[in-house]
Assembly symmetry: C2
Homo-oligomer: 774 residues x 2
């Protein structure tokens, strides 16, 4: 930290360098990027890294998982709730405005090990007063309703009256910078001074009257003797802002400690009429206990999580830290205790994609949780189970059977994809994904089975998972259209993962995974009938599954059309794709990103063979065991040359597949691109929120790619690693069928150790060789 750091109280808290993400300079044009990078979340709530002082060009955001509202917006969106971060500082009556003061020193540090955001700012104001502001904030992972901010304020070259404003700001809106979309989701319920000091601001979502109650109190002490120094305190009701002004004397070079305690509850947590009471009691409990105890409990939780989730890359500090950054945010974003919420495409880090849940969660993020935090993985799948009735309604609404998951899902499980958006040229365009990007329903079934395959969680499968797989299989059977001419079943008018092509027929990814979904349903029926007949009876009776219907599943499944050029061993992304105008990417920008080939009409991308992101390749990653290496290589090479990577979901999947087919050259670059997507803002939209799918993809490249971990046809955990030149060692831990394993990979050796587990002995395959571990 800076020169004026209070070493005992702050520096001691900060972890080793490998756990730290730095910001060394204040630049208001980068405020929003850092707000995302420095977001703290405990799964219950996400708090963007907006400065307590307030600044220009900021886009504050505090989001509570599961709190959605529509109002004048196109669709329900995650609500930007009241912002309780505000602590404005005044030196002798003058607001220390970051955008007007001379900033002598500015540093922020995200400590990923402990989930703490530190800062240290040295400011000189217009009349030469130098003030140091240092401290940290955290959002407790132990008691998710608690948040704390501690600041040490030091008048460096003067003595005088300092004052702070403790602010809870309810004027926040969504889409702040876009007047056409800007929406206020809250109305004010109460803005009040609390009896024993502090502010309380309660709001309600406008559509559903979901209440959000936030209480906050500030305590100010002399650093040296811990005496309360506040000599004047004044509460202001400022409409939707609740503000308490606190004034105190401070003398040159003597720090004053400002502790801000914050409590958040919603009517999802407690009943409306108890909300204020609960917040107030918790607030005073927290404040009287002080900040340190909660901070200790918070860091203890992080320690337990990191103990399993951390991956170490020896020999490559950049890769090591970038990967850790992705794991940190992914791991922080889940709430294993709330099965009514999932992780959004931008996690709780921003308003991008409106807080909606896409296939990103099940296909990109879930593997990380399945292997390192199975309880959370189960909770994420429980969200889908809890939305199953809504998915049934969706199917019914669209003329199908079974359960159809929405392309974008919020709190009700209904389709929340906006109908209108803006294309690359800024034109208003109809968005079709909500209508026809149907593969998500198979993606979720795939994820259910993947979870089960890794965890052996039969309880989940019997009570929830099977029902999802059956209802989605049923959806696909009804979704398929019989083509008499070819005696085949087709899935027409869809969008596959590659969204450049809309309204396509027989998308390989969709059709293949739909077939897999129906097939998995059939396998599961046989398995349950044999092993758990009474459970099967319960489920099949609940969903009215008859033997006749099962016969129909078999018929459809066996005749689903899969477009595949057998001679070229080339999979056709969808029927007719090969007839599209063929452009091959041969130029790359300074970041090694594809440049649009000359002559491409951006308004008619659907007429070309250019694709947005992995589609065929994606499927081969998911179901690697079903394709031989030659097919993988041929298709990887064909599609790689045509993939524009206009989604952050692409690079990681190409990296995994590249490593599988021996294209090591680009794998490391793709991995780093994926790992740094937010740290380097290489998609240019980090300010909108975390690229959570890319974070999950990055983990997959490390584990599925470099460590070469996969489950083979016989269900054996297998490793065929390949390490980049400078990597000395790659080590990580996973849960495998209830056992905690440690994997240590060097250039010469792969070690798999059982750290704790239910099995006495376990067989794994390393580079094709069967090994027994204990």
């Amino acid at each position: 930290m800076a020169r004026y750091t209070l070493s005992d109280d702050i520096s001691n808290l900060i972890s080793d360098e490998k756990w730290l993400i730095f910001q060394d300079k204040y630049d208001n044009y980068l405020n929003q990027k850092y707000e995302t990078i420095f977001t703290l979340t405990n799964g219950y709530m996400g708090v963007r890294g907006t400065l307590e002082e307030g600044s220009n060009d900021e886009r504050p955001g505090i989001f509570i998982a599961g709190i959605f509202d529509k109002s004048e917006a196109q669709v329900r969106e995650i609500v930007n709730v009241q912002n309780w971060l505000g602590i404005k500082i005044y030196a002798e009556g003058n607001y220390l405005d970051l955008d007007k003061c001379h900033i002598l020193d500015f540093k922020r540090i995200l400590d990923m090990k402990r989930g703490i955001l530190f800062k240290s700012i040295l400011l000189k104001d217009g009349v030469g007063r130098v003030t140091s502001v240092e401290g940290y904030r955290f959002l407790s992972r132990c008691n998710v309703h608690r948040a704390g901010i501690k600041l040490y304020i030091t008048p460096v070259n003067y003595s005088g009256v300092l004052s702070v404003e403790n602010i809870i700001d309810g004027t926040v809106v969504n889409s702040k910078e876009n007047p056409k979309e800007r929406t206020k989701h809250l109305r004010l319920i109460e803005n009040a001074k609390l009896d024993e000091g502090g502010c309380y601001l309660e709001t309600a979502t406008r559509d559903d009257d979901t209440r959000i109650g936030v209480g906050s109190i500030v305590r100010i002490y002399d650093y040296a003797n811990k005496d309360n120094v506040v000599r004047f305190r004044r509460f202001s009701y400022l409409g939707e802002k609740s503000v308490e002004y606190l004034e105190f004397e401070a003398s040159e070079n003597n720090p004053v400690e400002v502790d801000k305690f914050v409590i958040t509850y919603t009517s999802r947590d407690v009943s409306k009429d108890k909300l204020k009471e609960v917040v107030t009691r918790e607030l005073y409990d927290f404040a009287s206990e002080g900040m340190d105890k909660e901070l200790l409990r918070h860091t203890a939780v992080y320690e337990r999580l990191w103990d399993v989730a951390d991956i170490n890359i020896e020999g490559d500090e950049d890769a090591d830290k970038a990967l850790r950054f992705n794991i940190f945010h992914l791991m922080s974003s889940v709430n294993a205790n709330d099965p009514m919420v999932s992780i959004a495409a931008k996690a709780l880090h921003g308003e991008g994609y409106k807080g909606h849940v896409f296939w990103d969660t099940e296909i990109f993020m879930l593997p990380f949780f399945i292997y390192t935090y199975p309880q959370a993985a189960r909770t994420l799948l429980m969200y889908r189970y809890n939305m199953l009735d809504a998915a049934r309604e969706n199917a019914l609404l669209n003329g199908f059977k079974g359960a159809q998951y929405p392309w974008e899902s919020a709190d009700t499980g209904k389709e929340e994809t906006p109908k209108w958006g803006v294309d690359y040229l800024g034109n208003q365009v109809r968005i079709w994904t909500g209508d026809i990007e149907h593969h998500i329903t198979a993606d979720i079934a795939f994820a259910v089975y993947e979870y089960y395959r890794v965890t052996d969680d039969i309880d989940f499968m019997l009570n929830y998972g099977a029902e999802i797989i059956f209802e989605t299989a049923r959806f696909w059977t009804s979704r398929c259209e019989y083509n008499e001419q070819f005696d085949r079943y087709e899935i027409n008018n869809v969008i596959g993962p590659d969204e450049f092509h809309e309204h396509v027929d027989n998308n390989f990814y969709t059709n293949y995974l739909a077939r897999w979904n129906i097939n998995k349903g059939l396998e599961l029926i046989d398995f349950l009938k044999e092993k758990y007949p009474s459970n099967y009876k319960t489920i099949s009776s609940k969903i009215c599954l008859t033997d006749k219907e099962i016969e129909n599943w078999k018929e459809v499944m066996s005749k689903i059309y899969i477009p595949f050029d057998r001679e070229r061993k080339l999979i056709e992304q969808f029927e007719g794709y090969f007839e599209k105008k063929d452009y091959v990417i041969d130029k790359f920008d300074e970041n090694n990103m594809p440049i649009w080939p000359e002559g491409v009409d951006l308004a008619r991308l659907g007429d070309t063979q250019l694709v947005k992101q992995a589609d065929v390749v994606m499927l081969m990653v998911l179901l690697g065991e079903e394709f031989d290496e030659e097919i993988k290589r041929i298709n990887y090479e064909y599609y790689k040359k045509r993939t524009m990577h206009k989604s952050s979901l692409g690079p990681s999947m190409y990296a995994i597949m590249g490593l599988k087919v021996g294209d090591y050259k680009d794998a490391y670059g793709s991995f780093m691109r994926s790992a740094n997507v937010d740290l380097e803002d290489n998609q240019g939209n980090t300010k909108e929120g975390l690229h959570a799918a890319s974070a999950g993809g990055t983990w997959q490249v490390a584990v599925y790619g470099f460590a070469g971990m996969y489950i083979d046809k016989d269900g054996l955990l297998s490793f065929t690693p390949w390490l980049p030149e400078k990597w000395k060692k790659l080590s990580y831990k996973i849960y495998w069928k209830g056992n905690l394993l440690q994997i240590i990979i060097t250039k010469d050796n792969v070690t798999v150790k059982m750290l704790e587990g239910k099995d006495e002995e376990l067989k794994v395959k390393i580079n094709g060789e069967l090994i027994s571990i204990k």
Copy 2:
């Protein structure tokens, strides 16, 4: 205006140069100064000259006369009500932010003749788009509830989608920049889209539930063919902000016309339950009628007002315009139809002095109205009459009899002076003026009589004025303390006009005017008994005035102690003043303002003979006929050397007295200082609001000083003019006893013409010579 001005529609509206106040450059540090200078007011409402676009460092303010609230503030203060000025402009989705765009041209013009504020801005945004925004706003003086803004927006070098946001912002607070005082006086009642388009935002004062309803609608036309061009309209409820977003296509160099109609009513005007209905109906009436008709009616009112109020100074354009600026704002600030409000020290131009009414109104501003707009003068005095009951309560509360007017008055007539403030050194100090600056009660009596003396409005005197004079005389009689030792009545522990000295005894100004007040009461009793015995009976019975009490008045009056050094012919400002440490001012800054003499302790100014503003001299201005020229000269010279002019009230009074005693040297400079106090911001606090007393004082220098107009001992209107070197002619109009007179003064000649009047013949005195005019 700028290059892109639409000459037909804007330039034609702009008056001749002598009516115009210019701003030629945008500088955000000067925003608040120009907000005051460019305030528009119609007496009902004041609207600071904040830019429609919004900008940094602005301090918006919209004030409605008579709407006060306390909430967490120290005292009731004028409420900063919802700001309806906002029109944010977006070029192809990008907010044209004045503080981020390159400003190629910026001009604002206040047209004082018509009460219109013009602007012309040429902006280049970050990607090179140049946009011109030109137009004007006005606040109707005809229908005070109507306000209009017209903007012509022209995409100068591009074609594309433009959009505007029509905003009514209810998040406004008082003391925005001072967190210790910052107070929100409004709570939200309704924020709604109006059925036929437009926004409605209703607020209520927090203490009294006084409702303020503002409705606004925007119409957008193609300039060429007047077609409505809006293609998308979206209302947003943003908490306390009501916003309508409107989108349209605009093509290169083709202006689009944006008309914003605004209606304001309060529950002072109509009943709460009718408020929205009245606002809505008026809004649609206004919008369907269009802007031009109201603008014509508005300018017609200004024409009538200027016809009497304008003063022309030939040969000195700067003085001519600066004086006109003061008259413009003074004249605009009164509402002759509302006898429950008066003009505040900062008029309706800012939050300074909290919208409170001081002696500034009766002593500094009222003469202008008495002579040019007697109906308004009567209304201003009716405000004091309507507060008479409160003044009686004040007296009772303080242990006195009769009526005691508060030093600072708001809507209730109770004392509203804050108890605490900040001194020159920034220390918190007790403010005593509300407790002991008692002279205001005599000032008001003085003003009542002055109004009567000029207008002969016997109806006012009989029904209202006499009651004020009697009750204030009664107050003074009870306020005086009998000193047995000297057999005299004293008024101890007061503050005179010079506020450097607190808790003084027998302040000359106070004692002299108190004596005058009692004496005027006695004279009036005799007059009424003789001429209007039945009226006298009514009044004396109403206020229980007995002959015995009248005898006591006589006793007290005759023995009030007046400190006066007969040998030196020097009046002692208060008892013991001459024993204070004597500092004489001998240094002046670059603006010819006094510099603190060396050695003065700013925390102990009361121990010195330095005075803040005219005190003895002030009294001699008010009651000039009671002092001979020698006394005037001696005292003027003595106090001039000791007056620091820390109030803007001083220079004008010294100028008048200087001209009376032949000190012509500094008179012009003092006049210009007074005239330019806001235009040049020479007190450094123009941002807080208009120096309204100084504006009135400036008028007095022109008329009482240079024109040398006064009422002599025999009640004759008299003139002893003196014109500065370069002034060729000074001409103005006044009402004198119901007649409209024109006065034309040149170096050689004084002409007084009767323009219209009730008297066939009138006698006036010019340079001592009695002249008869017809």
